[in-house]
C-alpha cells in the first residue's frame, strides 16, 4: 500500500446520506446561537498542495484551501440550484442563448484594486480557457462575452446549454484578477506564490511541509464577515498522526482524505465531534470497475453482467468504507441532477452470475475456473488495495480468476490512457449534471487515448443519440426524460460495473457552526462559519 496516498485525486464527494441540516443565519439566531466573531480555525490538508491558484492547479487540496481566497460568480445549494456569490442576480434569455449577470458593487481585490466585469470576462474567456481543461470543455460553447458596464457581464452561447450555470462555482471557474494575470505566462507567473482573490480570507504565510495560514480579509464585501480571525491548515503526512491530532483537539476540523475510513467509527462515538458525510453533492464521485470493452469475454454484456452480479456492494460499503458513502445503483449518482431511482443495476447474486457464465459456455475447469482476467490496482491508498483484493475473492466465488497488477499513479494513468489494461478501478466526478460529468465516459465521440474519457471503448449509437439530445435540450423536464432513458440503456448494456457513490467524512468540533451549508461542502468560502462559545 502506498503509505501517504497522494491525496484522493480530486476531492471526493459523499452522496447526501443524511438530509443536510441547513443552518441558515436566521435559524442560528433563532436557536439563540449568536454568530461569535473571532478565533482561528486549525485544520489539516493532505497532501500539501503544489500551489494555490485555482485553474492553474485543480487538485483536491488546492480546491479546499483556495476556495477561501477566490470566489466564483455563483455557488450551488445541496439540491444543485445556483445561489448568488459575486453575481448578485442573473437572467437567461428566452431562447436560452444569452446569460446576463449583475455583479456585486464595491468588491475589492485583496491588493485593494476594484473588482470589475473586465476581471470576469478575462477569467472566463482567457484564463480558464487556457489552463483549466475541465472548464474549457464547457466555455468553448460561449460565442461572445461582453462587459457593457463595470458591473454587468453578458455571455451569448452558440447553442442553448441548460446546465451552463453549474460551471460558475469557485471550484469550476474562480474569478482571478485581470491586472495580475493579463498578458503573462499564467503557469509561471511569480504572483502564483501570493494568490490574490476577492474572498473572505487573505493569503498570509506558507511554510512548506509545515502549515498554510490565511487571515481575515478586513475589506471583505459582506459586512461584518468573516467571523473567523483566520484559518491554518497543518501538513501531517502520517495518517495515524492526523487521527491523533483530531482526537486531542490540536485541530478542530478534518476533511477529504485526512481520516482513513477505518478510523471514522471511532470518531462517531466522540461526543465533542460531529461527523458529516454531506457537502459533496456538486462533485458526486462514482467509483466503478472499468472494463476494456475491446477484449474477449469483456466485450460481451453477459460477462459484464455476471461480474456485476458477483459483487456485494453493501459489503464494500460496510467493510471497506465503514458506512462512509453508499452502494451505487445507476451510472448517474443519486446526488446528481436527473438521477432516476427506479433504475437498478444487477443486484448481488452469485448464482445468477454463474448461470450467465454457463449460458456463455464458460464451464468451470478442474480448479473451478471458468475464465480469468487481469485487474490493475488503483494506486490511491490502502482502501483501494483492499477493494481490489475483495473483488478478486468475489470474482473467484463465481469461477472468475483475477490476477492483480500493481502500479503507481504515473504508471496507472499512462496504461489507462493507452487502453493497456483489461480491467481496473476508477472513479470520476459528475459535477452536478450528467452532461458535465457523465456523458464523457460513455459517448463514442469521446473514445480517446487520454485519461478520464471513454477509455473503456464502449460504443452504442442509441446512447450517443440520447446524450446528444439531452445536451442540447433547453427544458429541464425534457432532459430528465432523456436521462432516464439513458440510465435504463446503460444498465442494460452495463459497460462498467458501478460500485460506490463515494463520500468523504468532514469531522469537526461541535462548537464550529455553518460548516456544511452548500452543495460544495467544505469548498465554500467559510465567510459565515463561526466558533460558538
Amino acid at each position: 500500500m502506498i503509505t501517504a496516498s497522494p491525496l484522493g485525486r480530486r476531492t471526493l464527494l459523499a452522496g447526501a446520506a443524511a438530509a443536510p441540516t441547513l443552518m441558515t443565519l436566521a435559524e442560528a439566531r433563532a436557536q439563540g446561537v449568536q454568530p461569535r466573531r473571532g478565533g482561528v480555525l486549525n485544520t489539516i490538508i493532505t497532501p500539501e498542495p503544489p500551489l494555490l491558484v485555482l485553474g492553474v492547479n485543480n487538485q483536491g487540496p488546492t480546491l479546499i484551501v483556495a476556495s477561501k481566497i477566490y470566489q466564483g460568480l455563483l455557488s450551488v445549494t445541496p439540491k444543485l440550484e445556483p445561489t448568488p456569490v459575486l453575481a448578485k442576480s442573473w437572467t437567461r434569455s428566452e431562447d436560452g442563448l444569452t446569460y446576463t449577470f449583475a455583479l456585486e458593487q464595491g468588491v475589492k481585490w485583496h491588493d485593494g484594486r476594484d473588482f470589475t466585469a473586465e476581471d470576469v470576462v478575462f477569467s472566463i474567456m482567457k484564463f480558464h480557457m487556457e489552463v483549466n481543461p475541465r472548464a474549457r470543455a464547457i466555455l468553448q460553447r460561449i460565442d461572445r462575452a461582453e462587459a457593457p458596464d463595470a458591473h454587468t457581464v453578458r455571455f451569448t452561447l452558440k447553442a442553448p446549454f441548460e446546465p451552463f450555470l453549474l460551471i460558475f462555482d469557485v471550484t469550476g471557474c474562480a474569478i482571478v484578477p485581470k491586472h495580475v494575470y493579463d498578458g503573462t505566462d499564467f503557469r509561471n507567473n511569480p504572483a502564483n506564490a501570493t494568490p490574490i482573490g476577492t474572498g473572505p480570507f487573505r493569503f498570509a504565510e506558507w511554510q512548506r511541509g509545515n502549515f498554510i495560514r490565511l487571515v481575515r480579509n478586513d475589506s471583505y464585501w459582506k459586512p461584518g464577515q468573516p467571523y473567523l480571525d483566520g484559518i491554518t491548515w497543518r501538513i501531517v503526512p502520517d495518517s495515524q498522526s492526523r487521527a491523533l491530532a483530531l482526537q486531542t483537539g490540536q485541530v478542530q476540523m478534518t476533511t477529504s482524505n485526512d481520516i482513513e475510513p477505518f478510523d471514522v467509527p471511532r470518531f462517531q462515538q466522540q461526543q465533542n465531534l460531529e461527523v458529516r458525510q454531506d457537502g459533496w453533492e456538486l462533485f458526486a464521485p462514482l467509483s466503478w470497475i472499468e472494463i476494456n470493452n475491446r477484449l474477449d469475454n469483456l466485450k460481451d454484456a453477459r460477462f459484464r453482467r455476471a461480474m456485476a452480479h458477483a459483487v456485494d456492494r453493501s459489503f464494500i460499503a460496510q467493510r471497506l468504507w465503514f458506512g462512509v458513502g453508499k452502494p451505487a445503483t445507476s451510472p448517474i449518482a443519486s446526488a446528481t441532477r436527473f438521477h432516476d431511482p427506479s433504475v437498478q443495476m444487477p443486484a448481488f447474486n452469485p448464482r445468477e452470475a454463474m448461470a450467465l457464465l454457463d449460458g456463455m459456455g464458460l464451464r468451470p475447469n478442474a480448479q473451478g475456473i471458468r475464465a480469468s482476467f487481469k485487474m490493475m490496482q488503483l494506486p490511491y491508498g490502502e482502501v483501494w488495495n483492499r477493494l481490489s483484493e475483495y473483488l478478486r475473492q468475489a470474482m473467484r466465488q463465481v469461477g472468475l480468476e483475477v490476477t492483480l497488477e500493481s502500479t503507481d499513479v504515473a504508471g496507472w494513468v499512462r496504461r489507462l490512457a493507452n487502453w493497456e489494461y483489461e480491467t481496473t478501478i476508477n472513479f470520476v466526478y459528475q459535477w452536478g449534471d450528467p452532461t458535465l460529468g457523465v456523458e464523457r465516459t460513455y459517448v463514442t465521440s469521446n473514445i480517446q487515448k487520454v485519461a478520464f474519457t471513454n477509455t473503456a471503448g464502449y460504443s452504442n449509437p442509441e446512447v450517443d443519440r440520447l446524450f446528444e439530445a439531452a445536451r442540447n435540450a433547453a427544458a429541464a423536464e425534457e432532459r430528465r426524460r432523456l436521462f432516464s432513458e439513458v440510465q435504463k440503456k446503460l444498465v442494460e448494456d452495463i459497460p462498467l460495473v458501478w460500485l460506490m457513490e463515494l463520500s468523504f467524512p468532514t469531522i469537526h468540533d461541535r462548537r464550529l457552526r455553518n460548516v456544511i451549508t452548500t452543495g460544495t461542502g467544505v469548498h465554500k468560502s467559510f465567510d459565515d462559519v463561526f466558533l460558538a462559545a
Binding site: M1, I2, T3, S239, N385, E389, E405, S406
Partner: protein, 281 residues
C-alpha cells in the same frame, strides 16, 4: 573431524537448522493445514488472536493471519533463493574473471562493482521495482542486481590469493587451459566462503523483499510477510497482531539463516574456527 560433526558442535547452528526445517515444513504443509488461499475472507475483520477461530487473529478483510504466514513462507524462500542464485552466478563469474584475469580486466570490473556499491542498494532496488512494476520477477531481479557486488569482492579476493598458490602454478606449467584452471583448480577451493556468503545473502534477500512489500512494492498476487506487515501498519493501534506475527516469522527465518551461515563458516574452514585463541581477558 568430519564436516557434519564440526557443524553439529556449534549449538547456534543446530538451533538455526532446526528453525529452518520448521519453517520449510510450514511452507510445504501450508496447503494441508490451511487448504484455502490466504486471500480468502474467512470471518470478521480485526479479530484478536485466538478469537473467532483465528489462531493469530484476522486482518482488515477478515483474512486469517496464520494462513498468511504459512503461505508466505514459500514466497520468502522462493524470492530469497532465486535472487541469491542469480546474484551468485553473476558475482562469482565477475569475481573469478577479475581475480584470475588481473590487469585492466580486474580494474574495469572493480570500478564497475564500486560504482554499484556507491548507490545505496535499497534505493536502487526501489527504483528498479518501481520501473518494472512490482511483480515477483521484478523483485527477484532487483534484489539480484543489488546483491551481487559483495559476492564479486569476496570471490575476487579468494581468486587473487589462490591464483598465486603453487598448485595453480603447477596446473599452468602442465599447460592446462585458463578456464579449466579457474573451474577445476581454483573454484573448488573458493567454495567455502561462497557457501557461507550464500546463506547470509538469502537472509538479506528476505529482509529486502519484506521491505519492498512494506513500501507497497510487493507482488499483489502473493501474500508475503512484508505485505502483511505493510497492510497492518496503519491500523497498528487497533490490530497490532497483523504486523507483529509476520515480523516474528521474518525474524526467526533470517536469524536461522544467519546461525546456519555461522555454523557453515566454522565447519568449512576449521582453521579459523579452531583459532578461538584466548584473548587476554
Amino acid at each position: 573431524m568430519t564436516f557434519w560433526r564440526r557443524f553439529a558442535r556449534n549449538l547456534g547452528a543446530m538451533a538455526g537448522l532446526a528453525i529452518l526445517v520448521l519453517v520449510a515444513l510450514m511452507a510445504v504443509l501450508a496447503p494441508v493445514i490451511y487448504p484455502f488461499s490466504p486471500w480468502e475472507m474467512r470471518g470478521i475483520p480485526f479479530m484478536p488472536p485466538g478469537e473467532g477461530g483465528f489462531l493469530l487473529g484476522s486482518d482488515s478483510l477478515g483474512r486469517d493471519v496464520a494462513a498468511g504466514i504459512a503461505h508466505g513462507a514459500l514466497v520468502s524462500f522462493l524470492v530469497g533463493g532465486v535472487s541469491t542464485v542469480a546474484a551468485l552466478v553473476l558475482g562469482v563469474t565477475l569475481g573469478a574473471v577479475a581475480g584470475y584475469g588481473g590487469g585492466w580486466v580486474d580494474d574495469a570490473i572493480m570500478r564497475f562493482t564500486e560504482f554499484f556499491q556507491t548507490i545505496p542498494s535499497f534505493v536502487l532496488a526501489v527504483v528498479l521495482v518501481a520501473i518494472f512494476t512490482p511483480s515477483i520477477t521484478s523483485i527477484v531481479v532487483a534484489i539480484a542486481v543489488v546483491s551481487w557486488p559483495p559476492v564479486t569482492r569476496v570471490v575476487r579476493a579468494e581468486f587473487l590469493s589462490l591464483r598465486s598458490r603453487e598448485f595453480v602454478q603447477a596446473a599452468e606449467v602442465l599447460g592446462r587451459g585458463r578456464i579449466a584452471i579457474m573451474v577445476t583448480e581454483i573454484l573448488p577451493n573458493a567454495l567455502s566462503p561462497i557457501i557461507v556468503l550464500a546463506s547470509l545473502m538469502v537472509a538479506t534477500a528476505i529482509l529486502l523483499e519484506s521491505s519492498l512489500s512494506f513500501l507497497g512494492l510487493g507482488d499483489p498476487n502473493l501474500m508475503s510477510w512484508g505485505f502483511m506487515i505493510g497492510s497492518g501498519r496503519s491500523v497498528i493501534r487497533i490490530a497490532w497482531w497483523m504486523s507483529v506475527f509476520p515480523g516474528i516469522a521474518i525474524f526467526l527465518t533470517v536469524l536461522a539463516l544467519n546461525l546456519v551461515g555461522e555454523g557453515l563458516n566454522d565447519a568449512l574452514n576449521p582453521r579459523l574456527a579452531g583459532r578461538r585463541g584466548a584473548l587476554p581477558t
